[in-house]
Structures are given as C-alpha cells and as structure tokens.
Subunit: 340 residues, 2 copies
DNA sequence: CTGAAAGCGCTAACAG
DNA sequence: CTGTTAGCGCTTTCAG
C-alpha cells in the first residue's frame, strides 16, 4: 500500500494537518523542528501526494487535457511535443486525446472530458466552419467545462483562455503570390478538408493573390483532399489533367504525396511543375528537391499554448486573450520560373 | 458548479447510494422505476461522474500513463497513435510523458507518476543497458507503482504486464546480410544512442551477418549517433572517409540525414553508395529514391500494448507475459549490387 | 428494494 | 505553533 499523509503523521507523532502544512511549505506556522522531521520521514518513505485526493478537495488539478488531430502528421506532433515540454517543466501532466482528422464527434469528447478534472484544456483541433448557432452551442459546451481553454484558432469562446492563431489567409496569399511572381498563371491547389476553417482561409488568400494579378479564379483547379499524403497523391493526376504549371498544396504532407505521384508519372519537380507546400515540417528540407513552403512557427505556438495553460492555472485569471502568428516563405528548390 | 450525484439524489427524492447503484447498473437491487427516473434526471443535467472521486475510492482508474521518447520521430508517434486509438475505444484516458531521447532521468519520472493513480502504465521508452543491480533497482521502482506495466523491451520486471518486444538483433542481421548479398564488404553503420539496448542488439545482428560472410568486424566503421536526422547527417562524411560502399542506418531518420548529406556532397544513392534504414516510417517510401529498410510493425505493437493495458485493468490478472515481433526486409531502391 | 454511514487521501478553516 | 473537524464526490458494506 502506498504511504499516505496519515502514515507520516503517525510516525512523526503529529497530526495530518501538520504534515500537510509542513510539506506544502505554504505556511510558516510550523516550527523548523517539526517541518524538518516531517520532510525527513516523507523522504524516507518516498511519499508522494495522491493527486486524486488533492484535486478532489481543491476542485482543480495541474493536469491539462490536450485535444489535437492525428499525430501521424509531423506538424501536429511538433505542436504536441512543444506543449509537452513546457508542461513537464512546470510539473503539469498532459492527458492527450488524439482524434482522427474527421469532422464531428466533439460532443462525445466533451462529455468524456468533463469527468476528468483537469486544470485547463488545450483545444488544438482544427476549427470546423460553423454558423452562428453552432458556434454558440460549442461555446456553451466548452465553457461548461469550467476551466480555461487555449485554442489554436478563433473559436470565439467566452471562457478564460487564449486563442493562439496563425494567419492562414496570409499564408495562402504568400504561397500563391510566390507562384504568380514566378510567372505561373494556371495554379492548381490541393486543398485540405473542406469543412475546416483553416482550409477556407488559405483558399481566400490564394484567391486574393490571383485577383491582384488579374488571374481569374477557376474552381476546377481546386482539388479537395484531407491533409494526408495520400490525398496529395490522388490530387496529382487530376491537376495534371487540368494543365496546371504549378501547385499550391495546403500542407507539406500532401505536397509529399505530390512528389511521390510525380515520380511515378515521370514528371520532374520543378522543371515540369512547381510545387509549394505549407507548414515547413522538418522533412521538407530532406527531399532530393527541397520543398519550398510556408513556415508555421509550431514550436513557438506550442510553447505559447503550454505556457498560457500553466499561467491560467496558476494565476486563475479570467480574461480571454488572442495572439496571431505570421507566415514566412521558405524558398527552396521546388518552385521555379515558368519556362513555357 | 458541476452537477453531482447528490443533486440527482435530491431531485429524484432518493439517496445517493441509490443513484450510484442505479447509474452503475451493476446491481439489480434497484427497481425499474427508480432506475429509469435516475437515468432520466442524470441525462437531463448531463451528469458525468467525477473521476477523481471515483478513483480515490476505488484506488484505481482507467487512466493509463504512456511514457515514450520524443514524438518528432514518426516511428514513435505511430506507436503513440496506435495506443491512443485503442484506449479511446475502450474509454480509457492517456496521460503522456514524452521524454527527450536522452539517457537517465527515470527516477524523477517515476516519483511523479506515483502521484497520479493510473490503472496501468505503458513504458515505451528505450531500455538502457544495465547491470544486474540497476535492473533490480529499476524493477523495484517500477513495480513499486503497484500497477501493471507494459513495456516495449525485455525489462525483466516482476510486476504484472507484458513485454512487447521486437527482434532488433535479427533486424540488424537482415539489414547487413542484404548488403553483403549485394556484394558489399566495407559496410558502414550509423548506430543509435550507445547506451540503448536496442542499439546493441542491432549491432550484434550486423556483426553476426559479417561473420557469416567471413568479413572482419571493423569498429572504425561504426559511427554512434542518437537516432536523430542530424546525427545521420554528421555520420556521412565520416563514413565516406572510411571508404564504405554501403551504410546500414539504425533508423530511417538517420538514413534521411544521410540522404541530405549525400545530396550536399554530390554523392548518388544508390549508384555511389547503398543505404538501408530501419523502422519503415511512412516517409521511407516518398523519397525520390525510396529507402530500403527493415519494417517494424508499429501499428500492431502499439495496438497490442493498448489492448493489453486495458485487459490488465479490466481483469486484474497478474501474470507477466511476453511477445516478440519479427522484422521484415522492405526492398526498395536505395541499395544495389556493388559495381566496383 | 432502499437509506445511512463510513471512508478513500487530502486541505483548510477554526479552535486551542 | 499544532490539533480537530468538516468536507470534496463517490462507492460500498450493513441495516432496515
């Protein structure tokens, strides 16, 4: 049986209250002598508090629930890893819930979460496009958890927390503009999951760039995938059929799918076709033709998410904050001036 | 305030005991009428039990602690993802602790874990090479957690659980033999972290293959990295200096580092040098020159880990089991017959 | 079939 | 400076 505060109290000949106080160190009502003794005994038996009991009485804990998409995407694992690092350092725990990248299912998730009494949640799931009513509904449910919530998008929540955003629109804009500046006019796009807000945002940026260059938007040039490598692979023949000279892929994973398909079809990147990705995962730089892409500062964003979660737990503050990160073009070798 | 069992009891005009019994459904001592009423009210208020309270009284929970190395390695994230999937399905939660791939620090980790009262732990951290005394010491500490422990290596623990192993030795053997069969004789090796047992195992396999082909083992041909891409990158010039014609990399990540370095040095794979990896991460197949590698069935292994954790929690069984998975050569394009 | 009561390990008033 | 006490939300005997 694990040693409890009671065992220590008995051994030291003091009450449990004294032990609790001595160990927490939060009060100087305890004499040096007793404190020292208590600590010594606690160490002797390698005492560690029972978190369930602590969080039951305190009504909160240093456990943080992290909700995110599928880890097989290195972009996601980078975020999770960054968050985890911060939490460990601040001795918080992390309960992770990795969801397959499919829309829906939040309802069930939230009810399960409400059983755990975590101190905060990091909701790093892609935001679905929602109408006003759905938005309010989700807000009500999430807010109902009664803890601060950090998100990775503008969820328009009313509970304490922060929205750590990225300007996907500008990212899409930068990507398309880069291609346009290289002279491309028929620019295909491998979009991600249709129902995600971030997909729409990138598309908006793409369209804005086209407009600036007076290129008409052609919906036939958009292929909707689901952010997996495989969907990039499938997009390739379709877009080639559309005679595009360049492709903007909404994430690097799908761009890699494009690479693989191009190899199969004997199409050379960037000689025959330019490709630009999005995310800047570590692998982008390993390919034989390093991938030009849009950098998303995942490390910084993950760290911010983690630090804020800890801060909200520790200070109990109640504001809702927001921060927006900006994209950056990583120019590498997969894009080039149009030759025809 | 979250609704508790007490609120429901009051609303239904019954005692808390009755509510508990009715909701758990484990007893037929409750009349249909009351049960129905209790359930209706619980749903109305979206009641969910407070896990802290439950686990405090039951002295265990359906929360599983998952300890693993750094997620930036896709091989690790695949395992974590597979585990997570089965836990979700069995409505268990997962507390994750991702450790940087450095030796040591288990001590602190275990004491932190002992505060959470999880139902099981999955210890998917690489095993360090240890002497008899250290082995016993670790066993004592881990066993001291008082819960079943699933590992990914032969930890020789005495607590309930399972060792889900992989035959790394045979993997190393297959890799080296493949190269030998292609006629290579000076075969470099990018080893992983020196202090890991799995590193030693792969090396043993490599040496065995050399012996079978009567090739003398040359320690100068071994470069110790740390399983990161970067260490593969650094290994390259060293091994080229040793005039090797082929390289066995102990994981795919490091092989990718080799790829990147080869590109920089203008060395062609496989024309100038053959490369074989280990793991078979999804990317291995995306490279312009798809990577020949040794497959580790991470999906199956992760699933086994998760299922066993659930099984041990649900049945309370106390044996210690063991299962060993076998390697498989994935022949692709990065290795070829020696031409000189 | 149902209620009362004890207790899981710990904290936080409130007394002393 | 230290002990007593009342609970946090829930399960589980043990009576009724």
């Amino acid at each position: 049986m694990k040693v409890t505060i009671k065992d220590i109290a008995r051994e030291c000949g003091v009450s449990v209250a004294t032990v609790s106080l001595a160990l927490s160190g939060k009060s100087n009502r305890i004499s040096q002598a007793t404190r020292q003794k208590v600590i010594a005994v606690a160490e002797k038996y390698k005492y560690t508090p029972n978190n369930a009991a602590v969080s039951l009485v305190k009504q909160k804990s240093r456990m943080i629930t992290m909700v995110s998409n599928d880890l097989t995407n290195p972009h996601i694992s980078a975020i999770v890893m960054a968050v985890s690092r911060v939490l460990e350092k601040n001795n918080c725990g992390m309960i992770s819930r990795f969801l397959e990248s499919e829309p829906g299912g939040d309802r069930d998730l939230i009810s399960r979460m409400s059983s755990e009494n975590m101190g905060a949640v990091i909701w790093a799931k892609s935001l679905e496009i929602m109408d006003e009513q759905q938005t309010q509904q989700l807000d009500r449910e999430i807010t109902g958890l009664g803890v601060p919530v950090m998100t990775m998008d503008q969820y328009r929540l009313s509970c304490p927390g922060i929205d750590v955003c990225f300007d996907y629109r500008e990212g899409g804009y930068l990507a398309a503009r880069h291609l346009l500046e290289l002279g491309h006019r028929r620019i295909g796009c491998v979009a991600g999951t249709r129902s995600f807000q971030v997909t729409q945002d990138r598309l908006d940026g793409y369209r804005q760039a086209l407009a600036e260059f007076s290129v008409e938007y052609d919906p036939e040039l958009i292929y909707y995938g689901n952010y997996t490598m495989n969907s990039g692979y499938e997009a390739f023949p379709y877009l080639m059929g559309q005679k595009v000279t360049a492709i903007f892929s909404m994430n690097d994973e799908m761009a890699f799918g494009l690479y693989r398909a191009a190899r199969n079809y004997g199409v050379k990147i960037p000689q025959d076709i330019s490709v630009i990705g999005f995310d800047n995962v570590p692998f982008a730089d390993v390919m034989e033709v390093p991938l030009t892409t849009i950098r998303v500062p995942v490390e910084e964003m993950g760290q911010m998410l983690g630090e804020k979660a800890v801060e909200f737990i520790d200070t109990g503050k109640t504001e809702r904050e927001k921060i927006v990160y900006r994209p950056q073009l990583m120019l590498r070798a997969s894009t080039r001036k149009i030759t025809r």
